[in-house]
Amino acid sequence: MRILSLQNIHKKYQDAKDFAVSDVSFEVEEGEILALVGESGSGKTTVLRLIAGLEHPDSGSISLSGQVIVSGKKSVPAHERKVGMVFQDYALFPHLTILENIKFGLKKSMGDVDKIARDTLKLVGLHEDYQKYPHQLSGGQQQRVALARAIAPNPKILLMDEPFSNLDAMLKDQVREEIRQIIKKTGITAIFVTHDTKDALSTADRIAILHKGYLQQIDIPKHLYETPVNPYVANFFGKRNEIMATPLQEGWHTSFGFISDPEAKKYKNKVKLMFRPEHGEVVQRDGQQLTGKIVKISYFGSHQMVKLADDEGKRVTIRTNPGRSFEGVERAFFYLWKYDVEEAF
């Protein structure tokens, strides 16, 4: 069931030259986790604040669980939207205890307020710290309190602004999994904003990519990675190599060598072949492969990146396993097991 729908949302801040959000429309299904991904200034946080009711769009409409909450100049005020939000800085109330923070959003009509609050704390694993004040907790714990406070009143939708950005790398993987678990356990619909593609790929069911206020693509992670609609989306998920290729009868002629491919004959003009570093494989020489001069090898622990150049100095990067040694080797050989063809002209 559809729970949230944005239609043709435009938002421009006062004194800003460009729209922060331009003609953005998308829908969110009940129970799914959607990631809004983009660089800083892409409008992702603005979208979140528009849904929350902390900003008002210049045009467009928003509806939440079957009710229009924004339309024209009219708007349901934030405190009546039943939207939960976890702020980037958590925004815990420093003068209230953890329990009081969580009880803040609970109303008597919801039942036993104390029990709901304690149950929610249990869910995030902090039921023993309920009497503490926010400053007595670690960053990770504060975040879980913020999450508990947001979900305790059982909101229609949960919004999270850069939920992982304040955590150090060691903690991040663990927290990502924990939060996903908690959200899935409660069955709540969630939208979170992030600039880190790893966060999005590992946590979200679907990802929406924003660039300069425009929605580029919204899809499941696999599709975004494998069939990006445009170069921006493609590059967003890591490096993509591009090489020029001339179609021949049996395959492609490139400056790195020949690629045999029966599809090539369908093309008349030069094309661009695009592939990610992990879509190539460095291999032993056996006469059929592409080749390039080794320019640079970067070691990352789990893998190595090999930068290769053709005779004109044009470069590609291929990922390889960390055990392979290139000592005393000047040239490397590789083949591509996957690439996209884009007509260049």
């Binding site: 079957g66 100049k73 800085d89 925004a91 959003g105």
Partner: protein, 545 residues
Amino acid sequence: MSIVKSNYYWWNKWTGYSLLILLLIATPLFTIFFKLFDRPGDSWQHIANNLLFGYFQNTILLLLGVAVMTFLLGVSTAWLVSNYEFPGRKYFEWLLILPLGFPGYIMAYTYVGMLDYTGPIQVFLRNTFDIHVKGSLLDLMNLPGAIFILSITLFPYVFLITRSSFVQQSKTLQEASFLLGKNRFQTFFKVALPMARPAIVAGIALASMEVLNDYGTVKYFGVNTFTTGIFRAWFSLGDAGTAIYLAAILMVFVFVILYLESLQRGNRQYASGKDIHKPLVRIKPIIGKQVLYTLICGTVFFLSFLFPFLQLLHWVSLTYHKVINTDFWLLVYRSFGLAAVSGALIVALSVILLYTLRLSPFRWVKNITKVATLGYAIPGAVIAVGIMIPLLSLDKWIYSTFISAKAAGLFFSGTLFALVFAYIVRFMAVGYNPVEAGFQKIGIHVNEASRLLGARSTKTLWKIDLPLIKTSLISGILLVFVDVLKELPLTLILRPFNYQTLATKAFDMATNEMIAESANAALIIILTGIIPIIFLNKLIKKREP
């Protein structure tokens, strides 16, 4: 699908309250502006022909003189305490702010008393060296005297802001200057001073505003300025039209100073980047220089605070048994009450205005809210005239409509209402700024979080915002309290008939040759004034690295 319960997003009740408050606060300014188009009063011609030139001359000379003196006193001491280590340095950092607690008019008559035939200096000279002076040792009752008195009470503005700027200047910049071959002296003139310029000018601008506001000092010394002119037109001549014309000219001075201040600040940012912030390291000069620096700061402190303060104490010890009685305590009680009510009202109104800003997405709300804080730049006499005129008309209208066409009486004018209203207009900025800083410090997210959890804006204000900015609210009230307590020109014009505050009582007694007796009220004003100064200094120090 129909839209559920919804509002126009640009409107909330806070916007309504704020517009009302702003309208009220702007009344005196509007009044002056619109009354300018009326015919000038009967005495205008006389004043324009005979006195106006003198007003201009005195006001300008006073401004220039105080600017130069506060610059010399403030910048030199600020440089010494922020760059050198010498005996007493740590104490001078806050001792040199204390003169701010001394209202100019009290400083004025204290000095006159000190230099008098019966004053401590002449007594000392007579008893020790048998030197006899006729009359006053040094005639202060003139323009240079007024410049001296105003400068020693106002230089702490320059000292405070400049010192803060010196301390915040990055050490690396000075080191760069040394490495480029400049000595400490050259570095001061080529690097430190130019970089502190915006701060220095801001300090001098503040002092200038106080000069334009001053009535007590110039009146006591018989120096005719626009402020005394407004009083004369209002009280002696009963000519409101002329008072307004003079007030308008005085406002031109204010705008020129504000304009010059903003002009020199421009868009330049002299603050150095945050990352390279290594604090200044104070050096310890040779012992001779250390003594010299202690002497310089010591002399400034002695003249601007210690000496007159001791004199006041001495007078109090001579006269307290005559002065301190039930009436006196009633006076204290009344003044404190007036100041506390004004402080609480100003902070409450500031909270409403700033909360509106906090909730509103619109720039225009921010722009018009600035009007609220304009009062601090407007001399008290101008505000008084601007409030008195509309209130008198209001009273007249009420009487003629509801009571009797012939009778006249006071409902608002000449009541405490008018006085408190005027204090609010004049001192709004004093309470507004700490509240604004408080809101800024806690950030907007806690407020948004509360509203997303279902709390209305009012509940959020009471449960979240206000408890979090409690300290700012208290410091706001305290700062207004002190300013109201020492305020003179507004109170003199607007107080109800025969109503005395500590400030007016001290001034009345001093002008009636009861200087020693006036010291009792003066001492209470000064002692109360010192508390927030020390408090403020601690706040500023906390913010410094």
